[in-house]
């Protein structure tokens, strides 16, 4: 029997874990700080250099990683319900492909400065989203197979465009382009818009959470139990797309978070969207914060693209959970 009390307890635990991951992200690095020093720096006291590092460099980056991890995990969970496919992820409908085309075009044309790249990435993501929606929704029906196929084909087209741009790009731009493609938080812009969008997206998703539980069991079931299926699917599609576009714009196409985090949470907590959605958002934030902190410390002063680390952490954890004996019962 799903209860509010259990959901609350789980979310409090995850909230504590989120704070711990952020604290580690603020303390770790070439200038190692104690938790007390981090706290002092956050309050604007103590060592000037520590204040500069914590508040100027590490906090925005850690928050950007947290917000984008949450956005991707939430978007992935929503896409899995929309497509009724546990293998769906935020990128399956071509949104990251569109963003990549926009961002790489900006880099190639030398639009320069991260703002131009972000604007182009966001425009590319929205372009791909509207293209897929327009093509798949053309006849007014909402077939999941049609939506999925259209998204996959548009993503493939974007992949070809990306490969073309990479092959045309001059040597000195290639490294930046590759890092963007793998996901990289080191050039992330201010995290506030992403954090607000995460909060807004989560509240919107929770507004429809019980209806999403029904939609996950199929559109006819949802319709017989009083859900306005067409409206709900439209909301889901645009919400998941917006969340994904924002995340990709901030840190590039970080893989695995959007696919694996909803799965991990589902394996551990069940598929009740009222708990799964906020838990996935928190767990996604935690995973990406940890991965980004590792990415900039593990072979410092060299930095790794965070997308590589999310895969390196996520894959073994996921395989371990999957290999556990399938549970016949759940309390």
């Amino acid at each position: 029997m799903p209860t509010r009390r259990r959901a609350f307890a789980v979310l409090v635990l995850l909230g504590v874990a989120a704070l711990a991951s952020l604290a580690w992200a603020l303390a770790a690095g070439s200038l190692a700080l104690s938790l007390a020093a981090v706290w002092q720096a956050l309050l604007g006291q103590g060592d000037g250099l520590a204040q500069e590092v914590v508040r100027g460099l590490r906090l925005p980056r850690a928050l950007a990683a947290f917000a984008c991890g949450g956005l991707l995990a939430l978007a992935g969970a929503l896409m899995q319900v929309l497509l009724r496919n546990p293998l769906a992820d935020p990128y399956v409908l071509g949104i990251s492909g569109g963003a990549a085309v926009g961002a790489l075009a900006a880099m190639l044309l030398g639009v320069g400065m991260s703002l131009g790249i972000e604007a182009m990435a966001f425009a590319g993501a929205l372009g791909a989203m509207l293209l897929v929606f327009g093509l798949a929704h053309g006849d007014g029906s909402w077939s999941q197979a049609r939506l999925l196929l259209t998204g996959v084909i548009v993503a493939a087209g974007c992949g070809a465009a990306v490969a073309l741009m990479l092959s045309l790009a001059p040597e000195h731009k290639l490294r930046g382009m590759l890092f963007w493609l793998m996901g990289d938080a080191s050039h992330a812009p201010a995290p506030w818009s992403a954090l607000w969008l995460l909060l807004g997206g989560l509240v919107t998703a929770l507004f429809f959470a019980r209806e999403l539980n029904l939609l996950a069991r199929g559109a006819p079931v949802a319709a017989t139990l009083g859900v306005n299926v067409a409206r709900l699917r439209g909301v889901l599609y645009f919400l998941a797309s917006l969340l994904t576009a924002t995340a990709v714009t901030h840190i590039g196409s970080v893989g695995f978070v959007g696919l694996i985090v909803p799965h991990l949470v589902r394996l551990a907590l069940g598929n009740d969207q009222r708990l799964l959605l906020p838990a996935a958002a928190l767990a996604g934030g935690i995973l990406l914060t940890l991965a980004d902190t590792l990415a900039r410390t593990v072979i410092a002063p060299q930095q790794l693209p965070v997308g590589v680390l999310t895969a390196l952490i996520g894959v073994p954890v996921f395989l371990f959970l999957l290999a556990r004996a399938p549970r016949m019962e759940r309390a």
Binding site: P2, Q80, E211, L214, G218, V221, L225, V227, G270, R327
Partner: protein
Amino acid sequence: MTAPLLSAKGLAVSIAGKPVVHGLDLVLRPGDCLAILGRNGAGKTTLLHTLAGLRAPEAGTLTLDGASYAEQGPRRAARARGLLLQHQGDAFPASVLETVLIGRHPHLSRFAWEDEADGRIAREALAAVDLAELAQREVHTLSGGERQRVALAALLAQQPKLYLLDEPLAHLDLNHQLAMLDLFARLAQDRGVAVAMVLHDPNLALRFCNRALLLHGDGTHALGDSAEQLDAARLSKLYGHPLRMLQDGARRWFIPE
């Protein structure tokens, strides 16, 4: 006479240009139990979905509990009528109890969680379909017949006044077929609900349903008391296979030649 739960006037339904019924006048009152019979592809499911408000009829009017589907909206309609779907798909894992609790959705406000009363209703529904001890099992570990009974339990937990059942006996063993039909017949008699179900066995239709609707597959239909509609000649024509009637006192059976 009591007010009708479902009332269709001049209803026309077709699927992909092929007529299912036209000019159907159907009234279901509390206590009614209607059997819908016809060959594969005659449009039984399409008609049932139309009666459930999931697809619009081509012509005619349809009211549920005195109001059209458009007037009452999907949520109120979900408290008045329940539909058993022919296929139960589980894309994601869930326990049996969770699956039955989805029937409570139309009774709960947007941010409410199922409370003890909902849990009790769900457990009673599981007990009614003889699955009380499987409440904590994962649905994808169930057999086909058990999964079908979980779907019936979810429908019972929904507590509608009108039950629309698409092949409620699919995958069920003989004793559970009779138990389920008996359950719905008692609901109709004692609780004043109405039932319309797609059946493939004219003997069970005759035994448990007071009315019968025969769909001939060409847009024509026959509707009336089951005792009068279900005879060897009509059923032979309906299925395109000769049937013979056996009689023992007041009871009648049809067996294929």
